[in-house]
């Protein structure tokens, strides 16, 4: 079943077509990769999906619902979570708090129940705490609960961002260069984590990456973007051997 569909999505910035008529269908529970040279429009695509940019053309359909003009917070609540290319953590908040904020979209305690400490709020807080600890344990940060997010190492910060995105209980998770700056060992662990997330939580994952080893190994299908257009799509093997892709991006011997 198709969970996300992009029909002829286009976006322009001051005359430059950053994304040009892209069509994509992402199936439930697949791990889908998006690759391409820098400036190809990959992050812009992510920003469109999460509602930060409104596409000038085309339709964005998530779980059968058109979400073109929805605000980012609403899209998050519908079940699309993401990490960012340049890590966007809440630096002066603790590791635990970062994930707890991630739970915001799926919890309800409002201003009054929070301020007055009503029982509904206290129960929810307990739940939030448990859930957050569970997620932190999954990404291996359980022992760093109270550290400030900007004290973590780079790899740890990336994992924290993933935990935070998962707190939303998304059906679709967008990972923007999750492996950037990681050493080979960390990347191995990351691959394991991505499989684990997908299998345990029944998620669909879209991945933007530059590390071909990572992408080819872990993605079940891949789309290749160049100058805002999709130039190829298919399984890793199909894409690896695609002429256009080799010429514009991969080079021979990828």
């Amino acid at each position: 079943m198709v969970i996300l569909e992009m029909e002829k999505i286009s976006q322009e910035f001051g005359g430059l077509r950053a994304v040009d008529g892209v069509n994509l269908q992402i199936n439930e529970k697949e791990i889908f990769g998006v690759i391409g040279p820098n400036g190809a429009g990959k992050t812009t695509l992510f920003n469109i999906i999460t509602g930060i940019y409104i596409p000038i053309e085309g339709n964005l359909i998530f779980k059968g619902q058109k979400i073109n003009r929805k605000a980012p917070c609403d899209i998050a609540r519908l079940g699309i979570g993401r990490t960012f290319q340049n890590i966007r953590l809440f630096n002066k908040l603790s590791v635990l708090d970062n994930v707890r904020v991630g739970c915001h979209g799926v919890t309800r305690s409002g201003f009054w129940s929070g301020m007055l400490g009503l029982s509904g709020n206290r129960k929810e807080e307990k739940l939030i705490r448990e859930r957050s600890m569970e997620l932190l344990a999954m990404v291996g940060l359980a022992d760093k609960l109270d550290e400030y997010a900007d004290n973590l190492s780079y790899g740890e910060q990336r994992r924290l961002e993933i935990a935070r995105a998962l707190a939303l209980e998304p059906a679709l998770l967008l990972l923007d260069e999750p492996g950037a700056g990681m050493n080979p060992l960390e990347k191995e662990e990351l691959m394991g984590l991505i499989y684990q997330i997908r299998d345990e939580r029944q998620l669909t994952i879209i991945l933007v990456e530059h590390d071909m080893n990572l992408v080819m190994n872990i993605c079940e299908r891949i789309a290749v973007l160049n100058y805002g257009r999709k130039i190829a799509e298919g399984t890793p093997n199909e894409v690896k051997n695609n002429e256009k892709v080799i010429q514009s991006y991969l080079g021979v011997g990828a």
Partner: protein, 290 residues
């Protein structure tokens, strides 16, 4: 009567425009609302006053004020803003700017007292008749000097190397520095030019209204900011248009409505612009890079 008010408005508006230019150029390049800019304008007015009282002729006084404020503006940038660039949040830079603003205005207030000082009558003002419209030589002078400065600014920005550097930096600071532009020097220059223009505005307002006082910068600064936003913050022609428009609207408001609310006019316009068209008349919607 209408034409006289219009000319009045344009005269006042040119001083707003000169100050607004400083705001808009600095904002365009470092995304900082230089709260202290109004105080530079005030210092310009005072330095002009001191020079005139010391016997200099008005043009020398104007030049002297502009040079002094150029240096003052560069000093402020160096001490209060540059240390914060890049590493601190926008909030910190804004607060620092507020600190400078308070410091400078209080400094002058302590030195001169808070009362108004009159500019000595150096220019006898003659009134000319153009058809049924009256215009004074003072107004003509102010309009001409302002126009001259604005044209000079446009030439600098469009035709000189430093102007190109300024334009590049306002588009992308990092890329410019990677391209070999001396970013620090460009930013200093921007502050210098903006401050010089504000000083000119200050001197001319001092002469025109015959009054200077230490807190004149606060009010004028805020109004000029409103003008810059009206025209589109970051846009140089926008600041010019915004300033002139605001001046005219303020004078018309006084003439045809009431003078007790004159200060509120600028702010009302600011709020309206932000509600209806936040990018101002000539500004463009900036998409954030995420």
């Amino acid at each position: 009567m209408f034409w006289e008010q219009l000319i009045n408005g344009l005269t006042l508006g040119s001083s707003y425009a000169l100050i607004a230019l400083g705001y808009t150029m600095v904002y365009g390049i470092v995304q900082l609302i230089n709260f202290a800019h109004g105080e530079i304008y005030m210092f310009g007015a005072f330095v002009g006053l001191f020079l005139v009282m010391a016997g200099m002729n008005i043009f020398i006084a104007l030049l002297g004020a502009m040079i002094f404020c150029m240096l003052l503006g560069m000093l402020v940038e160096r001490i209060a803003y540059r240390p914060l660039r890049g590493k601190s949040s926008r909030l910190s830079a804004l607060i620092s700017a507020i600190g400078v603003s308070i410091f400078l205005s209080t400094l002058m207030a302590l030195y001169r007292g808070t009362n108004t000082t009159r500019y000595p009558e150096i220019l006898g003002s003659t009134t000319y008749q153009l058809g049924s419209i009256q215009i004074s030589s003072l107004q003509i002078l102010i309009l001409l000097v302002s126009a001259f400065l604005m044209v000079a600014l446009q030439l600098v920005i469009q035709k000189t190397r430093i102007g190109k550097a300024m334009r590049a930096c306002s588009q992308d600071l990092e890329a410019s520095s990677l391209m070999g532009v001396n970013v620090n020097r460009t930013i200093s220059t921007t502050f210098a030019i903006g401050s010089a223009l504000a000083a000119a505005g200050g001197v001319m307002v001092g002469i025109y209204y015959n009054a200077v006082w230490p807190y004149m910068g606060m009010m004028a600064g805020l109004k000029a900011f409103a003008a810059a936003v009206l025209g589109g913050i970051g846009s140089v022609p926008g600041a010019m248009i915004g300033g002139l428009t605001l001046g005219v609207m303020e004078i018309m408001g006084i003439a045809y409505f009431s003078s007790s609310y004159k200060d509120a006019i600028a702010f009302a316009i600011l709020i309206l612009v932000l509600i209806i068209r936040p990018q101002g008349l000539l500004g463009q919607k900036i998409s954030k890079k995420v």
